[in-house]
């Protein structure tokens, strides 16, 4: 078992706790970089999809897991990012401009939706964002002068410094780079005053306010950051699917994002990435075992959504920490072996909290 001996406040500000962390994260990045040389095009394409969903997962994690605000409209932000990027690209704007433009424009949309919903929370916020999602979906359908309506349009090939990102490898590397950027920015925010303010709002609005945190401002900011990152994911998503149609950004996609956050583990960046792996790879797994399942279960309609639902319910009931929580418990079991206590990882019951000021 490793015991951290800290001699400097800077150690607590570092992104990794010790050299071991740095080694493993570094190794992971190196493996990801050389993977396209080892795996076939199909797997690289799928991994690119995982990265894109992981970006959206990290974005939603900042909003749901850290700020405590729910959103069932993140598919709309993904769509806005995808359309802004593709429409600009079709106008001949280079990809290195359209990608950040998609992020920024979506962030502005996020702040715009964040401001009127500030007084809502819980169910009401879920319904408001759901409504926002369906409004944006309708705009995608009806504004055919720009979006191509139901017919959709083919997304032009992106180029970076003259190098085409056509094909699985191009999207893979672009998504990996954006994912690393988003994870880095999120980790930075979380060790800065903004991240602490978000956590404070999640845990107790009234005392956050009395500590000098401007609730409206920080909630809108959280929405903007989350939407902006999702917009970046959307721009990449457009190239991943290559053909934009409005029905890609429906409520089910938003629910998939929420599943990423809950199954991965609320309140951890790792969780968002684990969740994205789960949500993207489960359908593949079903496709592989479909024919071997008994009683024709594999051919039953709605198998995939029901499995998602079942897993979501089971996780919320029995493993509220999600995959990341499970991973931490396993790690603790090994580091503490053979002294793991039954009560480790369990928290004290919380005491009565005042409800009067809510």
């Amino acid at each position: 078992m490793r015991y951290l001996f800290r001699t400097d406040y800077r150690q607590d500000l570092a992104l990794w706790r010790h050299g071991g962390d740095l080694f493993w994260y570094g190794l992971l990045v190196v493996v990801m970089l050389v993977l396209p040389l080892l795996l076939g095009e199909f797997y690289i394409g799928e991994l690119g999809g995982v990265f894109i969903f992981a970006i959206a997962g990290v974005a939603l994690m900042l909003l749901v897991g850290y700020t405590g605000l729910i959103s069932l409209g993140h598919a709309a932000f993904l769509g806005i990012g995808a359309y802004v990027n593709s429409v600009l690209l079709a106008q001949g704007v280079p990809f290195l401009v359209t990608l950040p433009a998609a992020g920024l424009f979506t962030a502005v949309c996020g702040a715009a939706i964040g401001l009127p919903t500030l007084r809502m929370s819980g169910l009401y916020l879920a319904i408001a964002t759901l409504a926002f999602g369906s409004i944006v979906g309708t705009v995608f359908q009806k504004w055919d002068a720009v979006t191509g309506g139901f017919d959709g349009f083919a997304v032009p090939t992106p180029y970076i410094f003259g190098i085409s990102l056509e094909g699985a490898n191009g999207i893979y590397y672009a998504s990996l780079a954006v994912l690393i950027l988003c994870v880095w920015m999120s980790a930075n925010l979380l060790r800065s005053p903004i991240g602490r303010a978000m956590v404070a709002i999640r845990d107790s609005e009234v005392s956050a306010q009395s500590m000098g945190i401007h609730l409206a401002w920080y909630k809108a900011l959280a929405f903007a950051i989350s939407a902006g990152m999702t917009g970046l994911a959307g721009a990449l998503f457009a190239h991943y699917v290559r053909f934009l149609a409005p029905d890609a950004f429906d409520v089910l996609l938003s629910v998939q994002f929420v599943t990423i956050v809950f199954v991965g583990g609320l309140g951890s960046i790792h969780g968002a990435i684990f969740g994205a792996l789960f949500v993207r790879l489960l359908p593949q797994f079903i496709a592989i075992v479909r024919d071997d399942l008994p009683f024709g279960i594999g051919r039953m309609p709605g198998l995939e959504p029901s499995l998602f639902g079942l897993v979501l319910v089971l996780v919320i009931l029995f493993q509220p920490g999600g995959i990341y929580g499970l991973w931490q418990k396993t790690k603790h079991w090994f580091t503490a072996f053979p002294f793991k206590r039954q009560t480790a990882g369990r928290r004290q019951k919380s005491y009565a909290k005042s409800e009067r000021l809510r």
Partner: protein
């Protein structure tokens, strides 16, 4: 002596109930001012008025010569008024250190992009906040709990953490809402010593709502007794406790004519 804080005929109505009814008081710099009274007397409501969670229906609040009657609630901490809550409002899923650092929020002025990229300016500011938070940890003797989650700490420690979080804002006026509620006798005594230390070593002015009369007598310079939102008596702890109106409010008495 100059008045640091002044409430001038402050009132608030909830529907037909006057929870606080034309209450006026002044708090001098460096004193511990206690507010006592039976349940529902309006003590916590006064705190919520000062920290601007409630809007007063009438009256004026003045802090250090500045009118704060209509100041937005998130500005209050920056002005130098910090508070604790009756039932503890800590950030339960964060560590003690993170809670104290949130207390530093009103002193952070690093830009958004600098935080996004964690530029050296953010790093410097964070180190400065950490030093300030460590001063509070040392002052309150919380070293061994530094990295514990609040959810895992015992109630008595949480009370001290909440005090620490308020101190991290570097307040000039500290509002303590029932600092001894839920504490045992020893912990209450300890709380009394912290309050005395805060007054003497840090020079912070304290307004305290409290039920435990031994704690009130131990630390207060002046006491104000409230009932049904009205001031019954004001003076030293001894004067207020023996004031006939106060005695009657607490235990009832022979004068029951109006009841």
């Amino acid at each position: 002596m100059t008045a640091l804080f002044q409430a001038d005929n402050i009132s608030i109505r909830f529907g037909g109930i006057r929870a606080v009814d034309s209450v006026s008081f002044e708090v001098q710099k460096g004193e511990v001012f206690s507010i006592i009274g039976p349940n529902g007397a309006g003590k916590t409501t006064i705190f919520n008025l000062i920290s601007r969670i409630y809007n007063s229906t009438e009256g004026r609040l003045v802090f250090d010569g500045q009118d704060i009657t209509r100041t937005p609630p998130y500005r209050i901490a920056g002005l130098g008024i910090a508070r604790t809550f009756q039932n503890i409002e800590l950030f339960a899923n964060a560590t003690l250190l993170q809670n104290l650092l949130i207390g530093r929020h009103c002193h952070s002025d690093v830009g958004f992009l600098s935080q996004l990229a964690f530029l050296p300016s953010t790093r410097r500011a964070e180190l400065h906040h950490r030093e300030k938070a460590e001063e509070v940890i040392a002052f309150l003797g919380l070293q061994r709990y530094r990295d514990s989650l609040i959810a895992n700490l015992p109630y008595g420690v949480r009370k001290v953490v909440e005090l620490g979080r308020a101190l991290c804002t570097e307040p000039r006026l500290l509002l303590l809402d029932e600092p001894s509620s839920g504490l045992n006798v020893e912990e209450t005594e300890g709380m009394g010593f912290w309050i005395e230390d805060i007054k003497r070593d840090l020079g912070v002015t304290v307004i305290m709502v409290e039920h435990d009369m031994s704690l009130v007598s131990q630390v207060s310079d002046r006491v104000m007794a409230l009932n049904y939102g009205k001031v019954l008596a004001m003076g030293t702890s001894q004067e207020v406790q023996t004031h006939p109106e106060v005695v009657r409010a607490y235990i009832g008495g022979e004068v029951e004519a109006e009841a």
